[in-house]
Point group: D2
């Protein structure tokens, strides 16, 4: 950590700061740059982040040198991680596609959608049984009944299941049915929930919070890893911006940026990421072209009747075209879609 | 709800939309505006929000007319609500001040801070026992021990306690010690938690999410109210922006805007709202001048030693000046600080 | 335009509003929706936008129905526009690539870069002679000398020139040398400049402002079109967000969104759009995959020595790979790169 | 400047970087921190900012130590600057109030408004003669005729004039009539315009750009100062956010933040800063309470008839109340309103 000293700091203020740093267990190195003094503090920077350094009267600016996360960083593990879930691989050369309805609305509909998306090449079935809804008056999901349908529909095609966990008290029931636990954007910093899925050892799909920086996103994944669960898939799903034409701005540059900092695989959700049906196909193509390790797409056989987020679902025919195109784009980047 | 029809929509597409709206239980009214057709859909708009209207081929734009929330709206209750917690009033002409350390770090320190802030005029003691920390390696709070200290320190001065609930499983233990349950910014859309505090009937301090709109903020408070708990205090605590000079941008215009939409009281947290010690005094003054019903301020007798957020705490002497000034500003607006 | 009336508006306030609307030349249509009254105002909505409707005491909310722009809208012209500049086409099935250094730094270097990017398939040479720099102490460009070099280097390969205009007083000198006038992001709402290039009839590359909405972007293009210049190419070049890992967030969903509203072609600038060399290749691929009509890429033979923005330039070898890949992606979407 | 070296940088890459830094004229100091190497580069940091350091293969991160601006910084001049314009002082203990209509619409109306705002305590008359409008079809201002009215109305009450310059070609005509030249938010990075007003030596009111950081804002003021004009008043007028309830978010914490970095006075514009009439009074009070050196407020005798921005104007009676209250708040902070 580098600490820039105020030009008018008094000698005893500077000395007090140096004493405290030593007291915290750091070696210090004072240097002068023209008319500026700078302290280099050498030791476990993570411990120092927790100290209120800017309250010291001598301090102008504190500059961290190391990244705040460790286990998920590229410094810790150089090669990209390939998460292998019952034979379906995500990461490295392997692209995996997750598709299905926003909410599980009924058994029959789910079997139908599973059949269609499986045929087009999806290997993981998505669907919500417990739904986070901004309105208390909106459909909140079928609960355990929905989880059962999801499992059965996936099994009928040999697919994996991914579904969202919202409440730490539901982890047992969800674990019975799912292969991948999704942590939604609104819970990205629900630290208690992150710890629970960390302890569970079930693979986790972690969605980026609506206004979380990439560093905060990686810190949230560090919470999971720090409990011993390394099967983490990151998901870029749009961040909030000032323009309301799309529900969110899908930040595709997050893919190369995360690549430069972490070994974890990262996928893209163009449905929530834009909230507009006419944006899903172009942004799914763009996501793969930007280097994503997979996609999560909402597909519904009858979006008009969907109980949630029908506005951002595509129909199976559009999904077929999407799959056809992303296969070519993946091949251009020397990757392939898991089938 | 108003539905603008695409200029090139076909007759059968339009008819299909009208049929579906009637099927959903709405009366429809089709009118022509120059070369544009518009449908007015009359009925319970909240039900219609849940329908994927934009998936219909005839639809160009959907414009809601009513607000998505009800119980917390000014339409529902015209006069501002004054929340009365064991005799301490917040709202209307009554301004209440909450002060204390970020985290509860020890018994003695807490008694000392309680004495100082009480003397200056604070009636509610704040302090975290369960801390949401972005790093899994940072101090996570003292837990129930911290809650006990908080209660004892508050009781020693006849103060109320406010403390944060992060996990629905902790609601029982927290309820034993606190007068007000705080829902933190990161959990503003943790809908399960909102429902729990709604059921609890304990007064709630709801903090605005880092990137939540004012409408979403009010929708979150509607979750609590819809469970029958109307003792809700809103708290503006800064939103995320592109400038990193301050941790957040304290959005003081949220106060008059919320005033125009809701009857709930709203307070300001200049400590988290800026994250900078030199901004707390000016922004506390500005908050009251903008019409806030109260303040939540971090005060620490020794910020250099604080285990969390010392960077954004002021010392008791600064808090005295703050109280002196906000009393004059409150009087200018014909309000008074509860003592 | 739809005007929602306050539930507690008095009769004379409502009547006053109706009278004023008629006075402005609008036909009005009052309807009741449950307990809400709504006015439909029929006439030239663009004229009404200028009126301070929200100052009227009866008004709760004003909802525009039509888009604020006209000549550049899809309502005005359905088919996508293909801009044809001396035989190089942009738009529709035609993708055009602009490449070159950020600033023109010297004659020889420019000829070398022109040769390389032309060989890889670029048909338009970019380079700044007048540079907008955030610091008054930074290199400000070579001026007319730079324009000459640019023209000569382009001519040596039969390429077109695109370069930025910053000051209306420079339009004559720039017009002598360039085929396309670029209006930079910082000048997107420099309305005097927009009018000048509108009058000039030279094709314009209009960059989206750092925090401009898509509607404002299209309104800026309307300024140019309203002076009779329809040869407008839009350029998405990143918007500001809260995350500082990349200089900007490249908003690729702007491409399908603009497509749904306007007939103008839109290209992508992954260099300014990210500010990071390691993001250029993935985001160029993603831009074409999202449906862009072209790219603008900074290429430098020696980024270490670049006088401006070397950090976001790629070398000719990377540009070769970029071109190879975007050709395949373009073909997947049934488009082709102009050569 | 501090340069953090990649952990896997090769020796010759590091050496190449050191060589280049020496070649640029910097002294370098290499130190090791655990497993990290760091270079301190000592010399004129402003020169180094222009170099594409991140293109060097050895570089992980570049951390500037000094601020990018100089003449406007607190390092350059410690005491707050008081700008004195013909006896009206802004800065230090002196608060100055600017008021008037958005656009100059006519002579009589302007005299009437000038009389009212002068009586309430405003000493500077504002009004636009050249208007930046987002739509080419909106009222663009009266031009020189408007400037004449403005001068005459101000002179009738012994007031100063402030008006906006949009085009460098208009500087002569505007200089004949105004005491303060306003640079609008959209032109904050119109560097040619900044240089012109820098050369003019007329006092400048510089508005913060809609999405400019505080550092960029101060860099823009440095452009003016670097031409020898030090009579600069900064104006916070709202930044763009994700919430559309207000036109902008008025960032009042910018006041203490600017105070910590610069000696220049800073005022607040609650009219443009919120775009809502019901926010002007509370945010004007809040602005002064946050420590602003002045206000710029839109006042109109008949907002319903205003040709621009009537939605954000208050009437003279509201302005009277505003002035009454801000005088008390100013006194609480030991300042006074210039009269």
């Amino acid at each position: 950590m580098i600490i820039v000293i105020k030009p008018d700091a008094k000698d005893h203020e500077l000395q007090h700061l140096l004493d405290r740093l030593e007291h915290y267990g750091f070696k210090t190195h004072l240097s002068e740059w023209g008319n500026r003094k700078i302290i280099g503090a050498i030791g476990d920077e993570r411990a120092l982040r927790d100290k209120p350094l800017s309250t010291f009267p001598a301090v102008e600016k504190v500059v961290p040198i190391l990244k705040p996360f460790k286990l998920v960083s590229k410094d810790f593990k150089k090669e990209p991680t390939t998460v292998n879930i019952k034979g379906v691989k995500i990461g490295g050369k392997h692209i995996a596609i997750m598709a299905g309805p926003c909410s599980v609305e009924g058994r029959e509909m789910l079997f139908e959608i599973a059949e269609k998306v499986h045929k087009a090449g999806a290997r993981i079935l998505r669907g919500g049984a417990f739904k986070p809804r901004t309105s208390p008056y909106a459909f909140q999901g079928l609960g355990e009944e929905g989880l059962k349908y999801l499992r059965e529909a996936a099994d009928s095609r040999g697919m994996l299941v991914v579904t969202e966990l919202m409440d730490p008290r539901d982890i047992e029931v969800i674990s019975k049915y799912t292969d991948i636990i999704q942590i939604g954007a609104r819970n990205m910093q629900n630290f208690k929930l992150l710890k629970e899925v960390g302890k569970s050892k079930i693979p986790v799909l972690l969605k980026r919070g609506l206004c979380s920086t990439i560093k905060e996103f990686l810190m949230a994944s560090e919470y999971i890893a720090s409990e011993g669960n390394y099967d983490i898939i990151l998901c870029e799903r749009g961040i909030r911006s000032f323009d309301t034409e799309t529900r969110n701005i899908l930040d595709l540059s997050a893919i190369p940026v995360i690549r430069s900092m972490s070994h974890l695989p990262v996928i893209v959700d163009p449905s929530h990421g834009t909230g507009r049906r006419d944006c899903i196909l172009p942004m799914a193509q763009a996501g793969i072209a930007a280097g994503a390790d997979g996609l999560m797409v909402e597909v519904h056989t009858n979006p008009e009747e969907a109980l949630s987020d029908g506005d951002q679902s595509i129909v199976p025919e559009e999904f077929d075209l999407l799959m056809k195109r992303v296969k070519i784009i993946a091949a251009t980047l020397e990757k392939h879609i898991e089938e």
